[in-house]
């Protein structure tokens, strides 16, 4: 690039800074009883790029719609927008809007619409940062919006039953979104992704929600990392998506007949690494999940660590720890097309004569008793009866019924 061109770029930059500085400086303060008593009034005056500061107080009144782009709406001293049980609170229909430090409360329940405390419609690049949501039907609802970030919000609901409850962070046709470091409790689904490709969920805590901690459908190429899902009614469900990466999440305490630490349904080409499954009725349930790499995960104290349905194909389990589970692996089929190699099993009783770190005798993780229970759940009453151990031993000596599934190189020491 020639010197002249560099000068041109410099001039444009200087001009841009000079122009934007006075505009960006527009600052409107919303204060009850002042000339600007509500956010709606402030929005009438605001130009693109303005900052609106909302001071402490409770604000009621009709739903507010933001149509001015590049706004920053900033709460000072946690101003509260109160829906009085009747309406949505804030709707954003403009690009690059930031909402920070507000409290949204009490949208009420609606059976007619998915009422959301904060809804973003067909916008790009919004930032929903550090707000509080109390008793919202839906808290944050991104609808056909692209590249938005929902970060550090504290979302709490009273945990009403599923039919009268909505989701914490709800993404619908909103690709490239980022949901980071939020805390969500007592909603229906903590985080919900639908038709939102290329999105990210990181560092969220989703606990005690009525249905799923994370509910994930038709969203390809998403990542979720270092989230913690605990005590949610049905655990976490990830369905009908490709190329998903799940790294370092905790799936904890999902208990009940329809609860799974993690349910993978029709998932292909995904990666599951360094996750922790503990205290679930079923740790990982795979239904129609194929070509997955399942590596370095911890399965501890679950009823079933892994349940593989017959249609789960071509997945590879390596370097996982299986400890203290009532059943390590269960399946409804005799032929399994997934493989386990080099995992650590607390039930392994083999030896390692050649000292290469892995046992010389293959480990068969599917217990005979697990097969019986798979067919007749009532048989679970016999859990830890001596008879089940006898059956397992008999099956080990004359393996006729359990699937040929075996870990050919079970680890002698825990990998971590």
């Amino acid at each position: 690039m020639s010197g002249r061109a560099w000068c041109g770029v410099g001039l444009v930059a200087v001009a841009a800074i000079a122009l934007s500085a006075p505009l960006g400086a527009q600052r409107i303060v919303v204060r009850p009883g002042s000339a600007v008593p509500t956010l709606a009034v402030a929005l009438e005056q605001a130009v693109p790029g303005a900052t609106i500061v909302v001071t402490a107080g409770t604000y009621k009144g009709p739903t507010i719609t933001v149509t001015v782009p590049r706004l920053t709406i900033l709460g000072e001293g946690w101003p509260t927008f109160d829906g009085e049980g009747e309406r949505e609170l804030l709707v954003i229909r403009a690009d690059s809007v930031t909402v920070r430090g507000l409290t949204f409360s009490n949208t009420g329940v609606s059976q007619m619409q998915d009422r959301a405390a904060l809804r973003v419609i067909e916008s790009r690049g919004c930032l929903i940062d550090g707000n509080r949501f109390r008793d919202a039907l839906f808290a944050v609802y991104l609808q056909r919006s692209t590249g938005c970030e929902v970060r550090g919000n504290d979302i709490r609901a009273a945990g009403r039953e599923e039919t009268r409850n909505g989701n914490g962070v709800h993404l619908w046709y909103s690709p490239d979104s980022r949901v980071i470091d939020n805390t969500i409790r007592g909603q229906r689904d903590g985080i919900y992704f639908e038709f939102s490709d290329g999105s990210l969920a990181r560092g969220n805590v989703s606990e005690g929600n009525r249905r799923y901690g994370l509910h994930f459908m038709f969203s390809d190429s998403c990542r979720y990392e270092r989230n913690r899902f605990k005590g949610n009614g049905a655990g976490v469900a990830v369905m009908y998506s490709k190329h998903i990466v799940m790294d370092g999440n905790g799936f904890l305490d999902a208990t009940g007949s329809g609860a799974y630490g993690l349910l993978l349904k029709e998932i292909t080409d995904g990666v599951l690494v360094r996750n922790h499954f503990e205290g679930n009725s079923v740790g990982l349930l795979m239904e129609g999940a194929s070509r997955l790499e399942i590596r370095d995960n911890d399965f501890r104290r679950n009823g079933w660590a892994v349940r593989l349905m017959a249609d789960a194909e071509d997945s590879h389990f390596t370097g996982n720890i299986f400890a203290g589970n009532a059943f390590d692996v269960a399946t409804n089929s005799r032929t399994l097309r997934s493989d386990f190699t080099g995992n650590w099993w607390d039930a392994y009783r083999g030896y390692d004569l050649d000292r290469d770190g892995s046992g010389d005798v293959p480990f068969r993780p599917v217990r005979f008793f697990a097969l019986v229970v798979e067919r007749h759940p009532e048989a679970l009453m016999m859990l830890r009866s001596p008879v089940t151990s006898l059956l397992d031993i008999a099956e080990r000596v004359f393996p006729v019924l359990t699937p040929a599934l075996a870990d050919p190189r079970p680890l002698m020491r825990t990998p971590r």
Binding site: V372, E378, A379, R384, P386, T388, L390
Partner: protein, 263 residues
């Protein structure tokens, strides 16, 4: 009443001199101690201890009880020749055998628990239930042993029957239940299953301890009725009541056969 306590004391003194009883208590002590030292997490310790308890307690109570009743046969006959009520002699004999056994079990399990209990993350409630149900099982199987020993004079035969009873209740019973479940699994067999569990004290003890652990969640997997029974306070109450009944009923059967028996 003083006759009961006299016979009881004689029995206890006799048993305390027996090396078998000491070995039993010491064995449980060693097992519990080893589990605490090498058994992994607290939950694992409880589960391993539960397995050991369910196998050993009925076996030892049956074998030891049968042998003891036969061994003290002459003493019993001597007592019965005295102007003592048969009832008192019976209770003295039974308690003189059952209480030292219970004591040995409780000491064997309890002392390591007291020593290590504070240091482990083992659930207290489960450990307490384990100790309590072990004690109740001892009472039950000591009484069953008496029934067997009073019914069969031949020592070897009585021992064989005791072992058969142990096998029947620990292994065969559960095996049959499992077989029935596999055969009739398509019918609603939850209620009969629950009834079957009430019919075997060993199963009751197992479920009682299991439900106080996280395994409740797992059992809750099986269906509404089990959740209803074992997911709530009702389950343990039913199980404990049934276990108590199981501890008392065989004693009355044994008493009956003792009172009617021609020595």
């Amino acid at each position: 009443m003083s006759t009961v306590s006299l016979v009881l004391r004689a029995g206890v003194r006799d048993l305390l001199r027996s090396r078998w009883l000491l070995a039993y208590g010491a064995g449980f002590w060693a097992v519990t101690e080893a589990l605490f030292l090498f058994g992994g997490s607290g939950q694992q310790v409880v589960l391993s201890l539960l397995n050991a308890m369910l196998l050993l307690v009925p076996l030892v109570a049956l074998v030891f009880g049968t042998a003891h009743v036969h061994a003290s046969r002459e003493f019993t006959e001597l007592l019965l020749s005295q102007p003592l009520s048969r009832r008192s002699v019976f209770f003295g004999l039974y308690l003189g055998m059952a209480l030292p056994l219970t004591g040995a079990f409780l000491v064997g399990v309890g002392v390591p628990l007291l020593l290590h209990g504070a240091a482990t993350d083992a659930p207290r409630l489960a450990l307490g239930l384990l100790a309590a149900s072990g004690a109740l099982l001892t009472l039950t199987f000591a009484a069953i042993a008496m029934v067997i020993a009073l019914g069969v004079d031949d020592r070897l035969r009585a021992m064989a029957r005791a072992l058969a009873a142990w096998f029947a209740l620990t292994v065969a019973y559960d095996g049959i239940v499992l077989a029935v479940v596999s055969a009739f699994g398509d019918w609603p067999i939850e209620r009969p299953m629950l009834a079957a569990m009430l019919g075997n004290p060993i199963d009751l003890a197992r479920l009682l301890v299991l439900t106080s652990l996280d395994a409740t969640a797992l059992l809750g997997y099986t269906g509404a009725l089990f959740r209803q029974v074992f997911g709530t306070a009702l389950g343990p109450v039913i199980a404990i009541t049934a276990l108590l009944l199981w501890a008392v009923l065989p004693v009355f059967v044994a008493r009956r056969s003792f009172l009617r028996r021609d020595f």
